[in-house]
Symmetry: C2
Subunit: 429 residues, 2 copies
């Protein structure tokens, strides 16, 4: 075993970074044995230098992250600051100064992964980011490496723990959105400003990363269709139950049937209770992968939290260090298919639509005609009377999202349709 240690610089020492530092210290011997050389924490960049950070030598703390990545003797820079800048510049500077990078930064990777990959390649360095998607769950490596000989057609997952916790609460207790969110906040599952989670931005960043890797093409955050889950109601859950379904916020990446394009989207959807994703509880994450030869795979585990995320970061540190000892690099960006990303209108799926309608004869015929005119075929219709009003629940066969949007627009114009109470996609069948 080599005795000269590999040097690790930690950028950020918050929820994730502090756990990375702790594990590096407490498990130093194991890490050295697995890498084939000891690793040493060479510096820790933070914003607030005076904060007490247990277990970390104060002499290692600096507020000058740029100077740290420019030192020239650093082997691996671990970026766990988050956000676009200064993270991006720090990462590219690290590559320029001969370091490889391990990052957990989904926002940056989804927005500008190509720039990072290009810089890594130019300087012959590694860029690893297992922790950026689904926390501790090994997912990036299985997709990039284990399935490298297969053709992935679909990745569908629960990749945001906060929203899954909220939806699970709504499902199991009958609570409304606000009540469930309040509980999630009180228990520390939701941040004070939950926008990034509940509006689907976090999941969309992960969808972009997953789609890019799965289909070997570039998918950016802007390419991902995104709908949050703040409009999901207790009534939606009741409707879902009647169909033998529950509701999850899903990130779905698909190859088009003709193989010529891909789509990536995040939205709430009904899925059958029998689907493995339906039983993912609390803040757990799970990702379902469909590949041509492998069939249907699922990966499940804690999608966030300091220590699970640190586990993924440490796995990457070990891999990058092994590569350095081998004087090699791991797989770089793979975007050779250059498949275009189609808009949401091209996505083909099923829909569950609740309409409030006038309680008079002929309404169903009118509604059915609108569906037919837009080429959306109906699977089932359920009519219900409630308090003198009537409601119609329509479940469609598979249809393009654009056709469904056209249908809904036309339905809204019917005198007999008082309102469109909810539209939800149905997945996983």
């Amino acid at each position: 075993m080599r005795t000269r240690p590999l040097k690790v610089a930690l950028l950020g020492c918050g929820v994730v970074g502090s756990e990375v530092a702790r594990i590096m210290t407490t498990h130093a011997d194991d890490l050295a044995a697995r890498i084939g050389a000891p690793i040493e924490l060479a510096g820790v960049a933070v914003r607030r230098p005076d904060k007490v950070r247990g277990g970390i030598d104060p002499a290692l703390i600096t507020t000058d992250a740029t100077a740290l990545v420019k030192r020239g003797d650093i082997d691996v820079v671990v970026e766990v600051i988050g956000g676009i800048e200064p993270a991006r510049t720090l990462i590219t500077t690290a590559f320029e100064h001969g370091a490889s990078v391990v990052s957990a930064n989904k926002a940056l990777l989804a927005q500008d992964g190509a720039t990072l990959y290009a810089a890594a390649e130019q300087h012959g360095q590694d860029l690893y980011y297992e922790a950026a998607v689904a926390g501790a769950i090994p997912l990036i490596r299985p997709l990039r490496e284990s399935l490298a000989g297969d053709k992935i057609n679909r990745v569908m997952g629960i990749v945001n723990g906060t929203t899954n916790f909220i939806l699970d609460k709504m499902d199991s207790t009958g609570a409304g959105y606000q009540e469930a969110l309040d509980e999630a906040t009180a228990l520390g599952y939701a941040e004070a400003d939950p926008t990034a989670d509940v509006e689907g931005f976090d999941a969309a960043a992960k969808a972009a990363i997953l789609a890019g890797i799965a289909f070997h093409t570039r998918v950016r955050l802007d390419d991902v269709y995104r709908e949050g889950m703040t409009e999901v109601t207790a009534a939606d859950f009741a409707s879902a139950r009647q169909m033998g379904c529950t509701i999850k916020l899903l990130a779905i990446c698909e190859r088009a049937a003709d193989g010529g394009s891909v789509t990536a989207r995040v939205h709430p959807a009904m899925i059958p209770l029998s689907h493995p994703l339906a039983s993912v509880r609390e803040a757990y994450n799970a990702v379902f992968v469909e590949a041509e030869a492998a069939g249907r795979l699922m990966f499940y585990g804690p999608g966030a939290g300091g220590s699970p995320t640190a586990s993924a970061v440490l796995g990457d540190i070990v891999a990058v260090c092994r590569n350095r000892l081998n004087e090699a690099t791991g797989p770089g960006e793979s975007a050779y298919t250059q498949l275009p990303v189609s808009p949401m209108g091209d996505v083909v799926t099923r829909y569950h639509i609740s309409l409030d309608v006038a309680d008079k004869p002929g309404v169903l015929a009118q509604v059915a005609t609108v569906f037919a005119e837009h080429g959306v075929s109906i699977d089932t219709v359920r009519q219900q009377g409630k308090d003198g009003e009537a409601s119609l629940v329509v479940v469609t066969h598979r249809a393009a999202d654009a056709a469904l949007s056209g249908t809904v627009e036309a339905l809204r114009k019917l005198d007999t349709v008082r309102g469109v109470a909810s539209i939800m996609r149905v997945e996983g069948e």
Copy 2:
């Protein structure tokens, strides 16, 4: 991209091998783009040269596997023959002649992995075997690489599809073992001689491989405690139901509480219906991993079959080829902890015991005394009268297997105990 192809020799062209050859041909362009060089099928060794093998150039077929691995121009030897010999000699000969090896051979790896690893290391070659455990499910790579910075404490899984199919049938239809086995055989899920599956040999080989990787120590097939599932009855399933459990054949690898040793075992066990492994249906496999930092992870998918297994083999071929282009090798054997494997008697778990007893006062007191004398603490007891006879169902708290065996031996000697109808471990709580 390099234009000179990397050469792949296929040893065996049966269920798995023929699919590997097919994917190599149909997906040649994708594989080349992902590897950075084309790969070429350079030879296919089989037993019966005259068998028609669709899609494979007859000129590539040979019965002389030894000559093929000795050619000297082969980059990757794919061993999908199975069994101990000639597979072992062919693999070590391949290393000697400058080839890396991808194998799906769980029997060989469990029995003599150390010899293969040593030969690979001596000759600077790679040994990959993702397909040997749980077919298409990425498991070896996540354990060896993604979790390389974590401490795995437990691996518990359903790693044999045949037995899971049989147990699932028994559970869902109330069928007995033989009836369910017959159905599995008729549907092609069980082989004509199902011994390796139903007696747990196949699962034990996988447990040995998983334990070795998870705990960074050497675990051989002989170190694995093994009990098959041929004695599981419809009555056992009824008892399991009463406890809110089902029955699965589990492979369980554990680090002892004091960290100083490990255990590996295969046996049927009751697990709560709420446990993720309980809902693994038909011939699917799933493996649950508990790691210190990552928490609880699960990997799920098809555990066998030509095309899923070929997916795993192809992923390894891509990895090995990338390593070769990098003039590097992937992770070798990691057995530095040298943790000893403890015998089954040291395993601590819970037990569900059904006793047929005399229907007279004082029996429960007698039975309870025997448990107490052996230090096995009782969680619940249920007394049932049936046809004038009585039965006692005892569920224990956690106890060492040796203590439980002693208890059962003593119970059998009691006049009032007519028989021990079943003993089953209870896991996953």
